[in-house]
């Protein structure tokens, strides 16, 4: 039997806008999955389809091999934590958590003392002992979220769905709560899907990241796979900071001649390509040597804790390069605004911006070897 949650060729249209196009997705049991994408990418619709709050126009949704596409949320047993938590404002914390048990048909409804035990157990799990008689308006955002989580877990869901779980929280609480959620999910072992537009959040806690854009899935993979081998230009740009060099520009032509000639064979004029370089893959030197070939002037210096970000502009003045170096390196270089530096590109990825053609090449110019093309 097929285990986990599966979407097969799911389409969804609102009015005339296509929100999801032919989405196929397999979510293995027990994993923490991030649906990552910009706003309007369709990730929340995807979550609502999993919850049963939306019915896809076409395609099927399977829970452990069982077709639940047209099952209403009431019988689907998907626990949902809404973005604004959607706690019942007129009920106490206890009544909120007990709700899913109390609405069960009489035949299967647990006895009052069983409900009581279960709610207290959940309150303990989300570390809210003693809060049972408070009202949601008397709780902080983080506490409300944990009540929402306990409420969703009370009905023993087959899958847990969280819509932008950390978006409404303060930066500090957000960081702490997401680590806690990560450990909590591991402990429970329940398949959990959360929607986020924050790549750092997804990278930090997810087992599996699903990158969604314009109603399509761009890439599915572990955080390191997504970061190290992005399937296309969109994923590369979305997942971290990037420098983009159009290869049909004057500086691009120069770079093809001098820095990565091996790529030239892959380029056709009909298909303009761009080179993508991460700021931390740019090394900064004071003097020109074999690798450090690009001459640039430092425009701004931004210290960021252990890292220092240098914004530079090439001597020709057309291309801006952002480099990220360690503080030690920065102090050794003693660079300041207006200084001339030489940039070394340690890793370059070339994509076709026509995203229907998702070929990519990763090149390490220092080792002068061309890696195998990947298909996204």
């Amino acid at each position: 039997m097929d285990m986990g949650v599966t979407l097969r060729s799911v389409w969804k249209t609102y009015k005339r806008a296509t929100v999801l196009q032919n989405v196929d997705l397999d979510l293995p049991t027990g994993k923490l999955v991030a649906l990552l994408g910009p706003s309007g990418s369709g990730k929340t619709t995807l979550l609502r389809i999993l919850a049963g709050l939306e019915v896809p126009d076409r395609g099927t949704v399977l829970f452990d091999g069982e077709d639940v596409t047209r099952r209403p949320p009431r019988v689907r047993r998907a626990g949902v934590v809404f973005q604004q938590y959607a706690l019942f404002g007129h009920m106490t914390v206890f009544d909120n958590i007990a709700f899913g048990l109390r609405v069960l048909p009489r035949k299967v409804r647990p006895l009052a003392w069983e409900i009581d035990t279960k709610v207290r157990d959940l309150l303990h799990k989300v570390r809210l002992n003693g809060f049972e008689s408070r009202y949601p308006s008397q709780l902080s955002g983080g506490q409300q979220q944990r009540v929402a989580l306990a409420r969703a877990l009370a009905v023993d869901p087959r899958i847990l769905l969280l819509d932008e779980p950390f978006a409404a929280l303060d930066a500090q609480v957000r960081l702490e709560l997401r680590r806690w959620l990560r450990d909590f999910q591991r402990e429970l072992g329940i398949t959990t899907v959360f929607v986020t537009h924050d790549q750092e959040e997804a990278m930090d806690i997810a087992d599996l990241i699903v990158v969604v854009n314009q109603g399509k899935i761009e890439q599915v993979g572990s955080p390191s796979e997504i970061y190290e081998r992005p399937a296309n230009a969109f994923v590369f740009e979305f997942i971290g900071r990037s420098n983009v060099l159009p290869l049909d520009s004057r500086e691009g032509e120069w770079a093809l001649d001098h820095l990565f000639p091996a790529i030239r064979d892959w380029i056709s004029s009909a298909d303009p390509m761009c080179a993508y370089i991460r700021p931390h893959d740019i090394e900064v030197h004071r003097r020109r040597d074999r690798g450090a070939a690009v001459k640039a002037v430092v425009e701004r210096v931004h210290p960021h804790g252990a890292l220092v970000r240098l914004v530079t502009r090439t001597a020709a003045g057309e291309q801006r390069w952002e480099a990220e170096i360690s503080r030690d390196r920065y102090e050794a270089l003693k660079v300041k605004t207006g200084d001339t530096v030489y940039l070394e590109f340690r890793s370059v990825t070339v994509f076709s911006p026509h995203r229907e053609v998702v070929h990519s090449w990763t090149l390490d110019p220092v080792r002068e070897e061309l890696q195998q093309p990947q298909r996204g």
Partner: protein
């Protein structure tokens, strides 16, 4: 200089308060006093006798009957309309929202005439009704229908507003937790909008009891049968029986005062509820992550 400015401001303040109080006294308070003093000018005995008059009693009964039908129907319709408009998207939704307010903007007399034109003997479905011996115009059904028409937007407007303001997330949450439609309505939606419902009841009760124009057109003024309290007061007044007219008017005035009192209590309660929530939330905010 500053002293002058301040005394100028003090004069302005006194003037504004004076005008407000004077206006209130002349236009609101004086008529109320006149109603009660005129009703009691021939003594309490006469006042009570005027109220005990069978025709007055019949008018009170009819007014109560009309109100008891119009208000629940309004609330029911308001809930349906509010739910449909706040929760679903359908063609003509914005048109419906505009049309619901129509009885607000049409003169009550015109509303009454509309009903005569539809249900009257020369009207649209009047002949069919007559053939089946159902009398609507110049009878109790007409009065109830017209009252319904003019009070319709009061509750609906209020309920549409509260339901739209609530959003649907809590209902969706209840749905994912396994609640049926009926459980969602009784346990989630209704508790959230109960003050809106109560407010709608108060507003439409006041209007249903006091409606004159529209009801006057369809009633036929048959004493003891189709006279509501406002119509009955007019008849008494036109007969120069002003004490009896004012006695009956005190009933409406008392009903209006009771309504106002209920409204004030209600607003105070809902206001208190809001004030109550805020300090609690602020206090709890400080406790974040102190549970470890």
């Amino acid at each position: 200089m500053s002293g002058q400015g301040r005394s100028g401001m003090r004069v302005g303040r006194g003037l504004l308060i004076g005008v407000t109080v004077l206006f209130f006294a002349v236009f609101l308070f004086a008529p109320l006093v006149v109603v009660f003093s005129s009703a009691l000018q021939k003594g309490v005995g006469y006042y009570l006798a005027a109220l005990a008059d069978p025709e007055t009693a019949a008018a009170v009964r009819l007014t109560l009957l009309t109100t008891c039908i119009a208000v629940p129907v309004n609330i029911l319709f308001g809930l349906c309309a509010g739910w449909a408009i706040a929760r679903y998207d359908f063609p003509g939704k914005s048109l419906l929202k505009t049309v619901i307010a129509l009885p607000f903007s049409v003169s009550p007399v015109i509303s009454g005439l509309l009903f005569v034109l539809v249900y009257g003997s020369g009207g649209l479905i009047g002949p069919w009704l007559e053939a089946h011996h159902i009398q609507v115009i110049f009878a109790v059904p007409g009065i109830i229908l017209t009252t319904l028409f003019v009070t319709l937007p009061l509750a609906a407007h209020e309920l549409i507003a509260v339901l739209e303001a609530q959003g649907k997330e809590e209902e969706e949450a209840a749905w994912t937790l396994g609640a049926t439609g009926r459980q969602i309505f009784w346990k989630i939606t209704l508790p959230k909008i109960k003050w809106g419902v109560f407010y709608g009841v108060i507003l439409s009760t006041a209007r249903a009891m006091g409606e004159f124009g529209a009801v006057s057109v369809v009633s036929g003024h048959i004493r003891g049968l189709t006279n509501t309290l406002p119509l009955h007061i007019e008849i008494l007044y036109n007969q120069y029986d002003s004490v009896a007219a004012f006695a009956a008017a005190t009933l409406l005035a008392l009903a209006a005062l009771a309504t106002l009192a209920a409204k004030a209590v209600l607003e105070r309660r809902t206001g208190l509820r809001k004030d109550h929530a805020a300090p609690g939330a602020a206090a709890a905010g400080g406790e974040e992550w102190t549970w470890a």
